[in-house]
Amino acid sequence: MGVLISFYLAMVYALSQGYVDDYYKKFTQPAGSLIIGLSTASEGLVPDMIEKDLKSFDFEGPMVNFALDGTQSRFGNVYFEGIKKKLKQTTTKKQLFILSVSPGSFAAQKYSSDEDINKMDKNSILGKVTDFTSNPNYNYIINTYGLPLYNALHSEDQWNHQTTHDNGWNETQWVIQGDTIAESDMKYWKWLTLRYFNKTVKDQVVSKYRKNSFIELLNFLKAKGTVMLVRLPADKEVLSIENNFWPAFDAYIEGISKTYQVPYFNYTYKPHGFKTYDGLHLESESAKKVTKILTTDLKDHLLNLNNPKNYTP
């Protein structure tokens, strides 16, 4: 039995040294500051750019991109508890939190009680993991890795256009070493995205539970430092589905922004120049562009030069 367990743990360790999955590296360090949200933020916001551009403000580091995706990190108690466990224990009140918001962050299955939603969230990665900061993170791999461990013996074939950085940013490059993602592929993936959204949205509602949890999270984070809200750009077809799902979303977030005195940067109005590879997720250069705009806006806000504004190019 001892030999079996040792062999198993050795394989888990070997796996941890390569590519595990798109989320593993978000769980391998305590964080001073966080990016929070869904997969649009996971790919669309670059932590080291934010750290570099805002260095003069002396925010707590490291900044980790702790945004997962629509099945893992919608607002709720499970994500909230995960964020708490992720953060470094500090009393400086100089932590920075960038909350990426979209109607999807507040969605839940129709006819679900708060308990049902919480139960479903507990089945996600965030519900199964108890260790959010170790490296290697045995707890993460043992509790969430679903594929065979023989993947530890060969370099896992992560899609070569995608890189998972140590700070949790999932970068997708349109062009890599002369290999460009074909337009036909991007068209197909966009079709899949829209199909998925149209199918899913029929069974979902805007959840009071998720809204309440969002407010709780906001208050918790405000006590620890600076909080800002951002809505990332996407293709117009995707935004149309989101806005039809919750027409009053922007008004709701603007209301939150005023009530809780946190800036809200809405980058969906004019997404010119931003490229997604599937209608929803920003490719690498666009992610860097958006992050640059965000840090500029945030700098302005922090220096109190301008009021929070909607972006126009």
Partner: protein, 482 residues
């Protein structure tokens, strides 16, 4: 507690050691406590239903032998009603209310729950794990006492243990009291050979579950999850894979159950007898989930008349039997359709039997060829109704069949790994070969008979295969949901 969990890995040795360290007089208490801990591990409150079933049937059985003939039946009926009542409420009530809602919707009346109005939604009723198994087990006990086949058990502890014995509590086999109770009461001495055999059975079950069944499940889930996207050939493969996934998943559970019981000197009944080597539908249903089919035969099919009487009566009996088989598996019309399609296959087989016999005779086909034809037809015929079994709704199942017909590509690698796809086919061939040679319950002979060097090589290879090849994403056994 799941058999394929870390907790069970700790739980079983502790129970085993405690069992052999405890004197025979109190072993029932140790096992009963362990069984309750096993059952309560995730949802403690569900123990109440198990206790209700236990107490009701214990009392009813004792009363049956005490009271007059006219009142005996009342106690038997009371036991059946209470057990079926619990089963009906917890398993079928939301199905019933949803079906009623759908009927009203068909006529344009919306009576579905409204989130803002806060009306109670019966879909929130929790389905207690194992309820379909232990209620059937206790009903069989009471009826057997009523029929005079057995005497009621006076020792409450042993009876409670019969109801809750953890290896077979949540997914069978559905044991008869005449078979299991005497074994639970007999004095068991340490038998290294039995313990070894039991552990090998457990190891085999674990391999079947995490390396084979769960691996097939990845492909099945991907295909059934989006048949429109994965139309054509992948859907045929997925239907074929599912037939084996469900078999391996369930027989894995049974192997672990039988193995765990064997380590404590208890022989649970066989629940599978090489079902996929059957050559007729009728033969298949005597080899698949044997304990359930025997139960239904003894307590439903034969009392209705069985296969005696007019063809109309026999047809009716078969349809009722498989309606119940379908419904027992789940509170959804898909399971009912699955059951009724199997009934239809049986009826067609029965009706065409004389014709087929004449045809084979006329063609002078050797028996082996007839068996091969029968086996091939069976695999195809069983896979089709299983699409309903696997689909979340009838509409989804029909959509699946429709998308099967759209063969416009040869792309079958829907998981992105030809290695894994090939491995799935290889594992099916390997397991079926082992089952053909040994059957599920004599697997240990493959390991215990060779020389020491070969044995230890097998243990080492097993360790490497399970650690490296296990799929961890599936987790619970399919039959836990029943």
């Amino acid at each position: 507690m799941l058999f394929n969990s870390f907790e069970f890995l700790i739980f079983l040795p502790i129970v085993l050691i405690g069992f052999y360290l405890t004197t025979h007089k109190y072993r029932w208490l140790w096992l009963l406590a362990a069984s309750y801990v096993f059952y309560m591990f995730h949802t403690p409150e569900l123990i109440l239903l198990l206790l209700i079933s236990t107490v009701v049937d214990y009392v009813c059985a004792l009363q049956i032998v005490k009271v007059s003939k006219t009142h005996k039946k009342n106690y038997a009926i009371l036991s059946v009603l209470i057990n079926l009542g619990m089963l009906g409420f917890f398993k079928y009530f939301s199905f019933f209310t949803t079906s009623v809602q759908e009927i009203f919707m068909f006529f344009g009346l919306n009576i579905s729950p409204n989130e803002t109005r806060g009306s109670y939604n019966f879909n929130q009723v929790l389905l207690p794990v194992g309820i379909s198994f232990y209620t059937f087990q206790t009903i069989s006990y009471t009826i057997d006492v009523y029929r005079g086949k057995i005497q009621p058990e006076k020792h409450f502890g042993y009876f409670a243990l019969y109801v809750s014995f953890f290896p077979q509590l949540v997914a069978g086999p559905i044991e008869r009291a005449a078979r299991l109770l005497p074994q639970l009461k007999q004095k068991v001495l340490v038998n290294i050979e039995a313990i070894k055999q039991g552990l090998i059975m457990i190891a085999w079950g674990l391999f079947l579950k995490v390396v084979v069944a769960d691996r097939l499940g990845l492909y099945v889930d991907a295909a059934f999850g989006d048949p429109e996207l994965n139309h054509g050939l992948p859907l045929y493969i997925a239907a074929f894979f599912f037939a084996f996934q469900i078999y391996y998943d369930f027989s894995a559970y049974t192997a672990i159950a039988i193995g765990a019981a064997k380590t404590m000197g208890v022989d649970l009944m066989q629940n599978f007898n090489r079902p996929y080597f059957s050559t007729t539908v009728g033969q298949f249903w005597t080899r698949w989930h044997i304990s359930l089919m025997e139960w239904l035969k003894d307590y439903v099919f034969i009392p209705m008349g069985g296969s005696k009487g007019s063809p109309v009566n026999i047809t009716r009996n078969i349809l009722v039997l498989f309606f119940i088989v379908g419904l027992w598996h789940g509170a959804n019309w898909t399971f009912v359709v699955w059951g009724l399609l199997n009934a239809l296959l049986l009826i067609v087989e029965y009706v065409t039997n004389p014709f087929r016999k004449k045809l084979f005779l006329a063609l002078k086909l050797p028996q082996k060829v007839i068996d091969l034809l029968g086996w091939s037809a069976l695999v195809v015929c069983l896979s089709i109704p299983l699409v309903f079994f696997r689909s979340p709704s009838i509409a989804d199942a029909l959509g699946y069949f429709k998308n099967m017909g759209t063969i416009d590509t040869l792309h079958i690698n829907i998981l992105g790994s030809y290695f894994e796809l090939g491995l799935c086919f290889m594992l099916i061939i390997m397991v079926q070969t082992i089952h053909y040679v040994k059957g599920n319950d004599a697997i240990y002979e493959l390991v215990t008979k060779p020389s020491r060097t070969v044995r230890w090589s097998i243990y080492l290879a097993y360790m490497v295969v399970v650690v490296l090849g296990a799929i961890h994403s599936q987790n619970s056994f399919i039959y836990f949901q029943f």
